[in-house]
Subunit: 355 residues, 2 copies
């Protein structure tokens, strides 16, 4: 168990040692640790050593020149210059917000980036400006489209953050696969089986083996199978891929470079790095913000008061579990699994810093 | 079996008899029949008598004054004046496209509307301008959020149409429920059982009864249950509801007025009519359209060539089945189920027109 403060100082030191400018190191840390606070443990400090290895492999530029390469009043295409997605995505979101201030909405497609942490962080950036925030990214191919055995898509998440009045903000943030890889990693550590509908064998058969990915299997799109709408999850993942990468000029589909440095990057890539898509919509570009926010509270109230199925506690609003986890972990600290703890200790030794 | 032409002439006559101006009657017919062409039989002429009954109940204004009530350079809020969604949505999409021409993207939230046919029609409107088209709508509450037994959301579809070069366009169009009500209606007519994961009883238990909705049950969000990601389908349906109705000032969640005229409209509605959300993004607001379209062809080619699971024929691209159905039905005609046929015959008698 570590306090948020401890992990923050440590992580920032690591980014500084990678050569990130101080402001970037701080920002990257804030974005990365938002995952640990919100309980998305697979996307937080657990990935820090992965970023370091990518940097060692020359695949992360610690001092990127993040710049707009194309724009209109409501759009921009951003070249991330192979920097940390943790730094590039907030810059791109700032651009989206600035454009929304002027013309109502702003939409930014990003190429030549790396993993950007949790999508929810970036979407939530718009809330304080009374805007709806949208964030998506493509990712290493692990998901097979419906009817296929090939891994063609990432778990390509979508996040949407919507302002409210007195209720906490509505914050949806979810992978477009039936279960993200992080959930399988948890089962692997506990040596448990996966439910049917999360993963298939390399032949495309149903499987409960949480290690199936290592044996050539694939994750399944949201919906799990054709009968239950996996073609919809596949379409959603495809839309995220196209908005993030085909619009921007990043790599897409099976060509997205893997996050792990030990896997080779494909030859003849169709684009640069991985891609993100960020959007901001000013509420008062549609109706007065106060009116909207009062109705959002009414919407949320109605759903909170919906009848609950026997055996369940409450109908949740998107963002509820993550907000409760954040409050808890800010108070009580962030638990790390032994392998993550060991990873951080190695980084501490290597850079001569304290955990 | 009827030819497209026969059904077109008949449907237009019905809309003319409802008092629609000639251009509106033609447009409404084109939008409605797109569903029959694409094989979404539940959303086409099968609904014509429903529109007539809503009009008889005074809930459809055949001569609406569709107007912008609020706007910025990239957004508009449209009041549909209780007209046919079949006519309002194309007008709103025209506004989105015109705004995209000027500032890169256009986004229109619509209130005071009625059902707009299939979402795909409206999204595809953007294709000929080299734009990505987006369309969503809320609908009568039939879907229970995860953990609940109350019907709080419609099957709230999302459509995204993306231009290509030589490949047919990418057209995703799907309900955010695990299965749309139309699929259950087909099972009802055939007196077949529904798969587990489509519907629950009024107590929230698993059910295979295709008539469960009539007994107080509810449809399930995409993902079917919490283990398989139904909270994601619930979040998606919620986002569609909020963009379509809370942004515009339409009714949302459990207050969306039912499509069927025999169900009462709730008292103290929080908004007007049902809501839609339409968007258009100019491709060349991000990168040259030719470049993008060549990469889309490459994306589609890669997915078409992905390895196919044993027993399946091919990996499909969103829009493939609907395009093939359109080609077939334009040539061979559109089959109607006996109850739909009877419905149309009654309309023919009533208005003194020929089927």
């Amino acid at each position: 168990m570590h306090s948020y403060r401890q992990l923050f100082d440590f992580t920032r030191e690591v980014f500084l040692h990678m050569g990130c400018p101080p402001d970037d190191a701080k920002l990257a840390t804030e974005v990365l640790l938002e995952a640990d606070l919100r309980g998305v443990d697979s996307h937080g400090v657990a990935r820090l050593s992965g970023y370091v290895r990518l940097w060692e492999a020359g695949r992360i530029n610690p001092k990127p020149n993040v710049r707009i390469v194309h724009e209109t009043p409501s759009t921009a295409t951003v070249d991330g210059d192979a920097g940390l997605g943790l730094v590039i995505a907030p810059r791109a979101m700032d651009i989206a917000i600035a454009k929304a201030e002027k013309v109502g909405t702003g939409w930014v497609s990003v190429k030549n980036s790396n993993h950007f942490g949790i999508a929810g962080y970036h979407a939530m950036e718009a809330l304080s400006s009374d805007m709806i925030g949208i964030a998506m990214t493509n990712a290493s191919p692990l998901v097979a489209p419906t009817f296929s055995t090939d891994r063609m898509l990432g778990t390509n998440p979508i996040a949407v953050a919507i302002p409210t009045k007195n209720q906490p903000a509505f914050v949806a943030d979810f992978a477009t696969a039936s279960a993200a890889n992080g959930k399988l990693e948890i089962l692997q550590r506990k040596e448990k089986k996966a439910p049917i509908g999360w993963i298939q064998t390399k032949e495309g058969d149903r499987s409960t083996n949480a290690n199936e990915l290592k044996e050539g299997g694939a994750l399944l799109p949201l919906g799990s199978d054709r009968t239950h709408g996996s073609h919809k999850g596949y379409a959603l993942a495809a839309i995220v891929d196209i908005f993030s990468a085909v619009l921007s000029g990043a790599n897409y589909g099976p060509w997205v470079p893997p996050f792990v440095s030990f896997l080779p990057v494909a030859d003849n890539l169709p684009g640069e790095g991985i891609g993100h898509f960020l959007g901001a919509m000013r509420i008062d570009a549609f109706r007065p913000a106060d009116e909207f926010k009062a109705h959002m509270d009414n919407w949320i109230g109605a759903f909170r008061n919906a009848k609950v199925k026997k055996g369940e506690k409450a109908v949740l609003i998107p963002g509820d579990p993550e907000r409760e986890m954040t409050e808890k972990r800010l108070k009580k600290g962030i638990p790390l699994l032994p392998p993550v703890e060991r990873d951080l200790e190695e980084l501490a030794k290597r850079f001569g810093i304290q955990l």
